[in-house]
Amino acid sequence: MRQVMDGDDVQRAISRIAHEILERHHGADGVVLVGIHTRGVPLARAIADAIERFEHVRVPVGELDIGLYRDDLRRRPTPALARTLIPVDLTEERVILVDDVLYTGRTVRAALDAVSDLGRPQAIELAVLVDRGHRQLPIRPDYVGKNLPTSTAERVTVRLHEVDGDCGVWIDDEETR
C-alpha cells in the first residue's frame, strides 16, 4: 500500500477547499455543507471548522445517507442505512455535497436525487478529497483535494481520524491484496 497523502496533506487540502468555497461564494452566507456517509460527514465538518477559523462563522453541516437512492440495490446485499440529518431547510440554499472519493459518479448521482427529495436548493456543488477518475456519469467536482490518476484495478483508501483513528490516503493494487 502506497501512501499518497498524510494527515497534514489532508488538512491542507481541507483548508484550501474551505478557502475556495469562501472565494467562490464571497463568504459563507447561504452555504450548507452536506456530507455523504460515511467519510463525507467528518470531511464536511472539517471544512466547516476551517471556514470557522478563517471567517468566524459556522456554516450548517448535514449528513446524507444515499442507501435508498442507489441504483444497484437489487444487485448487492441489503445495505445498512445511516442517519440522514439536515439541520436547515435546503430550499434556496447553496448546498455543497462532500465526499471522500469521487470515482464512477454513481454515489453523487444518488446524492443529487436524495437532496432533491429534501428540498430545492438554489445550487448544488460537489467537494471531494480525492478524484480518482473513471466517471460513468456526466458529473464533475467543483472542489478537489487531490487529483489521483488510478487504474480501475487499484483501490483508494481514505482514512480519517473520526472514523478510522488515523488520517491519510493510500493507493494499492487490488490484485496484491
Binding site: D65, G67, L68, Y69, R70, L73, R74, R75, R76, P77, T78, P79, A80, L81, A82, R83, T84, L85, D113, D117, L118, G119
Partner: protein, 310 residues
C-alpha cells in the same frame, strides 16, 4: 433473508438490523416528502384471506412510501376452499407480476405453503393463532425507541395468549432481544403447552404488575372461542383488566401497549387507553416504518437478485 414468516428463527443480529433500518425509515416518514425510491418498479401484493384494516393499510402505506406498486386481493365474503384457492390466488398474483407477497390467512402455516408455490419473497401477515412477525417487529421497535433497548426489561403480556399470534411472535422477538417476558392469563387462555416458549407464566396480574416495564394487553378473541375460557366478563375484567387502580400501581416509567383493536372497558380502561403512557398510537405509526424495513430487506440483497440479473 428470503421470507419473513416467523420470529422463532430470527437471530438477534437480524432483528437488530431490521430495527436499525426501521429507525431510518421513521426519519423518512417524518420528511416533508415521505417517500423514497428503492422499490421503484416492484409490486407488493397483499393477500388477506382474513379481514384486517390496520395491517393491510400499514403494509400498503409502507410499500408506497418505498415507491413500490400495490396489488390487493381480498376474498370478500365468498367461501373459499382453502388449499386450492390459496394456491391459485397466489400463482395468479405472481403471474400478474407480484414481486413480494404479504399473506394473511386463518389457517396456520398458509404463508409457508405460499412460499413453496411462488418464487418471490413472502411475508407472513398473520396465520391463525400462530405468527405475526411484523407486529412483533413494530412492538420491539416501539419499546426500543422508548427505552433505548430491550435488554433487561420486564415485559408482561396479559390476556388471551392461547389465541394470539401477536403474543407468540412477541415472546420470541422480545426474549431474543434480551427482555424477560411473563405471560399473564387464566390457565385456560394460556397455550396448552409452553414447552420451548422462552418466557414464564402466571395467573396473577396483581402479583407481578409492579415490576413490569411494559404491560402488553391483548383482546380476548371471542371469534376464536376465547370468551368460553372464563366464567364471566366481569370476573375476567376484575382479574386481568388494566383498570385505573391497577394502572396506578405500575412502576414509574412503565408503559402500556396494545396491538389493537382495543376493547375499552374490558382489557383496558378508557382512561388508561388515552393516557400518555399508552403507546398504542406509536405502535401504529411505527408499524409502517417496521414494514418498510421488512419489504426493503426482502427486495434488496438476495431476495430478488435472480429476477434482476437473469
Amino acid at each position: 433473508m428470503k421470507n419473513l414468516l416467523t420470529t422463532e428463527d430470527l437471530g438477534r443480529e437480524t432483528l437488530e438490523r431490521l430495527l436499525d433500518l426501521s429507525d431510518e425509515f421513521v426519519e423518512v416518514l417524518d420528511r416533508e416528502i415521505p417517500k423514497v425510491p428503492p422499490l421503484r418498479g416492484l409490486t407488493v401484493a397483499t393477500l388477506f384471506f382474513e379481514p384486517s384494516t390496520r395491517t393491510r393499510i400499514s403494509f400498503e402505506r409502507a410499500a408506497k412510501a418505498l415507491s413500490a406498486d400495490v396489488m390487493s386481493f381480498s376474498p370478500g365474503t365468498s367461501s373459499l376452499k382453502k388449499g386450492e384457492s390459496l394456491k391459485d390466488t397466489a400463482l395468479t398474483l405472481r403471474a400478474m407480476g407480484a414481486d413480494i407477497m404479504v399473506v394473511r390467512h386463518r389457517a396456520v402455516g398458509a404463508p409457508w405453503r405460499v412460499a413453496e408455490w411462488v418464487d418471490v419473497p413472502v411475508v407472513n401477515g398473520g396465520d391463525g393463532a400462530h405468527q405475526h412477525p411484523t407486529q412483533a417487529l413494530l412492538d420491539a421497535l416501539t419499546i426500543r425507541r422508548h427505552f433505548g433497548k430491550l435488554d433487561g426489561l420486564e415485559i408482561g403480556i396479559v390476556g388471551d395468549i392461547r389465541h394470539s399470534r401477536v403474543a407468540r411472535s412477541d415472546v420470541y422477538a422480545f426474549s431474543t432481544l434480551g427482555a424477560k417476558v411473563t405471560l399473564i392469563a387464566p390457565r385456560t387462555l394460556l397455550p396448552r403447552d409452553l414447552d420451548g416458549w422462552p418466557c414464564t407464566a402466571t395467573g396473577d396480574l396483581d402479583d407481578v404488575i409492579e415490576r413490569l416495564d411494559v404491560i402488553y394487553l391483548l383482546r380476548v378473541q371471542t371469534e376464536r372461542g376465547g370468551a368460553t375460557a372464563f366464567p364471566s366478563w366481569p370476573e375476567y375484567v376484575s382479574r386481568f383488566g388494566l383498570s385505573r387502580e391497577r394502572f396506578a400501581r405500575l412502576a414509574d416509567g412503565a408503559v402500556v401497549m396494545h396491538p389493537g383493536p382495543m376493547n375499552r372497558g374490558v382489557e383496558i380502561a378508557p382512561e388508561v387507553a388515552d393516557s400518555d403512557r399508552a403507546l398504542v398510537l406509536d405502535q401504529v405509526r411505527l408499524g409502517v416504518a417496521a414494514r418498510m424495513a421488512v419489504l426493503f430487506t426482502l427486495a434488496t440483497g438476495r431476495g430478488l437478485t435472480r429476477e434482476v440479473t437473469a
